[in-house]
């Protein structure tokens, strides 16, 4: 909680949070805000520049770009969140468990992660979709599984040194349960690293939707996503060189805000050490009095 409060004191973090809030609003209400039907084709007006009828122009099938961007927000963000959410659960839980559940589990988990890291992404996604069937959830789950080793490694590395730290041992000597130690002592040390990794993973997932759509996996055309629009716009660079910029800017804004927030979160944890104590000028005097009282 203290880390969060410290984070919110940073102006950059507030700005980033505002941007993310806006994206969240677009994700929920984007469909209603869209001025036109994002799927309606108008083959008479394809690849047009911005105009009164189409504020951001039309794409290669004459669909309104602004409407597609707005209504595509939900799917893009939901997809990325789903993938990262799965990765968080699949990575952090075994990552911490590998340190506390004994050598056999540790060895098994490490080898499983090694195997996952060695898998080529595209191949795994195709295989997963082949087994689970095609769809956004299946594809994002597959992506989550592939991102999980990242979280596993990061969590494990951050917690590895903490297992033998005297304050963890001290907590065990108080009779603290494992979950108490994890919640109270380990989590606050692991959180900043995980936060930064999460921001990075969300960014990666937003972009990965592109490559999956490219392969015909995940979100199916004509449903709009930022990544999908970026991919299709790239085919018409000669006609509309500025078109990929529009979904690109949205992705960039979201990812940038995530990164800034993660940085602030990380610094929020460290801020305690540098923050001056309130009323530092008067405190030492009182402390000395206390010392004198003990000596007496």
């Amino acid at each position: 909680m203290r880390t969060l409060r410290n984070t919110l004191r940073v102006p950059v973090a507030r700005g980033a949070l505002a941007v993310l809030l806006l994206v969240a609003l677009l994700a929920v209400f984007g469909g209603q805000l869209a001025p036109q039907d994002p799927l309606a084709q108008d083959t008479a007006h394809v690849l047009q520049g911005p105009s009164g009828a189409h504020l951001l122009g039309t794409d290669y099938l004459g669909r309104d770009v602004l409407s597609r961007l707005l209504s595509g927000t939900g799917l893009s963000v939901a997809g990325a969140l789903e993938a990262v959410g799965a990765a968080l659960v699949l990575g952090i839980v075994p990552g911490l468990a590998s340190l506390w559940l004994g050598r056999v589990f540790e060895w098994t988990a490490l080898r499983a992660v090694d195997a996952l890291m060695a898998l080529p992404f595209t191949l795994f996604a195709i295989a997963a979709v082949g087994v689970l069937g095609n769809g956004l959830h299946q594809a994002m789950l597959a992506l989550g599984v592939l991102l999980a080793p990242l979280f596993f490694r990061v969590t494990r590395a951050a917690a590895l040194g903490l297992r033998q730290v005297p304050y963890v041992e001290a907590a065990e000597l108080m009779g603290a349960s494992r979950s108490w130690v994890l919640r109270r002592h380990i989590w606050s040390k692991v959180l900043p690293t995980v936060a930064v990794t999460t921001a990075q993973a969300l960014a990666t997932s937003l972009l990965t939707v592109t490559s999956l759509t490219f392969l015909g996996l995940g979100v199916q055309p004509p449903a709009p996503t930022w990544g999908g629009m970026l991919a299709s716009d790239l085919g018409f660079l000669a006609q509309q060189p500025w078109a990929p910029v529009l979904p690109g800017v949205l992705i960039m804004l979201t990812v940038g805000a995530l990164h800034l927030l993660a940085d602030a979160l990380r610094d929020g944890g460290a801020a305690d050490a540098v923050r001056p104590v309130r009323a530092a000028a008067t405190a030492p005097v009182r402390e000395e009095k206390a010392d004198a009282a003990v000596a007496a």
Binding site: Y167, E172, L173, M174, R184, D272, A283
Partner: protein, 343 residues
């Protein structure tokens, strides 16, 4: 202090052996060999020994952090050596035994405030104290160790070394323990803070009727406060008894060497370290690996053939104990030719 071996000792360690690293079929490294000692309520027991003598291991085995391979430990009459799982957790949550870590900075979570740190033992054993009672007891503990309540919202990184040590002590006494094990509590502190902390132990044991075990490698810091002193050498108890007698009339040559080497210990005997150091060459058996016989033989001036047998701990007058074949006659072997530098 009563002279007889009382059974109402708060801490009773009987024939304790500890060995580490018994893994992959290799024999473990034995750290403690049959150590027996006890501490009564209101008593401060000093455990002294050089680095690697097993002092910390001794204290850690009382709280169940060392692999005990033999003997038993009783706290307030109840055996704690065999405790596992739930029983061990319940025993720890009772807070009857507190262990004070060597390094207060690393044993206090840097992300928690002083208030949270001191309240943690109470919060862990939830149900033993309500939220308000916890807050009261945290403030009470702060006062008990002489810290201003204004420090309660600081983080360990914002405290001085002496304050940190006191926060650690406050966390130990907040559960109203019966036994406090302090591992080198003053070795990281400057002289004035050292006195404060030692005097604090002295006050706490009368206020709370605590048995305190203070571990130190520094004889002079123990001399002032310990009622009794136990001397460890290479995992064996070589001598124990009332502090003043052990320091003024050491029975074991190792204790004599320690007291003679400590510059600030006032002593009546005129021993000089040079009189006690072993001459060369040493008898070959004292250098054998693994060591046989008396562990101190390699450094003992008075070692001879009889010392090839491990000396057992023998009781002496005044509730003293010593493990030396020559406890009574090594003084006769002192050479008077050494110059007395102290004069």
């Amino acid at each position: 202090m009563t002279a007889e071996q009382s059974t109402d000792a708060l801490l009773q360690v009987e024939d304790l052996s500890v060995a580490f690293g018994r893994r992959a079929g290799r024999p473990g490294q034995q750290v403690l060999h049959g150590v027996s000692l006890q501490a009564r309520a209101g008593e401060i027991l000093g455990v002294i020994g050089e680095t690697g003598s097993g002092k910390t291991t001794l204290a850690r085995s009382v709280v169940g952090l060392s692999p005990v391979t033999g003997g038993r430990i009783l706290v307030d009459g109840a055996e704690v050596t065999g405790l596992r799982g739930r029983a061990l957790r319940e025993f720890r949550r009772s807070g009857a035994v507190q262990y004070l870590f060597q390094d207060p900075l690393r044993s206090l979570d840097p992300d928690l405030t002083v208030r949270e740190l001191i309240g943690e033992p109470l919060a862990v054993a939830a149900g033993r104290a309500g939220r308000e009672e916890r807050a009261d007891r945290v403030l009470g503990a702060l006062q008990q160790v002489g810290l201003d309540a204004a420090l309660a919202d600081r983080l360990p990184g914002q405290l001085s070394g002496g304050q940190r040590q006191r926060v650690a002590i406050a966390r130990a006494v907040v559960t109203r323990p019966r036994l406090l094990l302090a591992d080198e509590p003053v070795s990281a502190l400057d002289a004035s803070n050292r006195n404060h902390v030692l005097r604090l132990f002295d006050r706490l044991r009368t206020e709370l009727d605590l048995a305190v075990v203070v571990i130190s490698h520094d004889l002079s810091s123990l001399a002032g406060i310990a009622d009794r002193i136990a001397v460890l050498y290479r995992g064996r108890l070589v001598e124990q008894g009332p502090t003043t007698e052990v320091l003024s009339q050491p029975l074991h040559p190792y204790t004599a060497l320690l007291t003679a080497s400590a510059p600030s210990v006032r002593r009546e005997h005129d021993l000089h370290p040079a009189q006690l150091r072993a001459g060369l060459p040493r008898p070959a058996w004292t250098l054998a690996q693994p060591a046989e016989g008396c562990g101190f033989a390699a450094r003992c001036r008075f070692a001879e053939e009889a010392c090839r047998a491990q000396p057992s701990l023998q009781p002496r007058v005044g509730s003293r104990e010593v493990a030396c074949h020559h406890a009574d006659d090594w003084r006769a072997g002192l050479t008077k030719t050494e110059p007395m530098l102290t004069r």
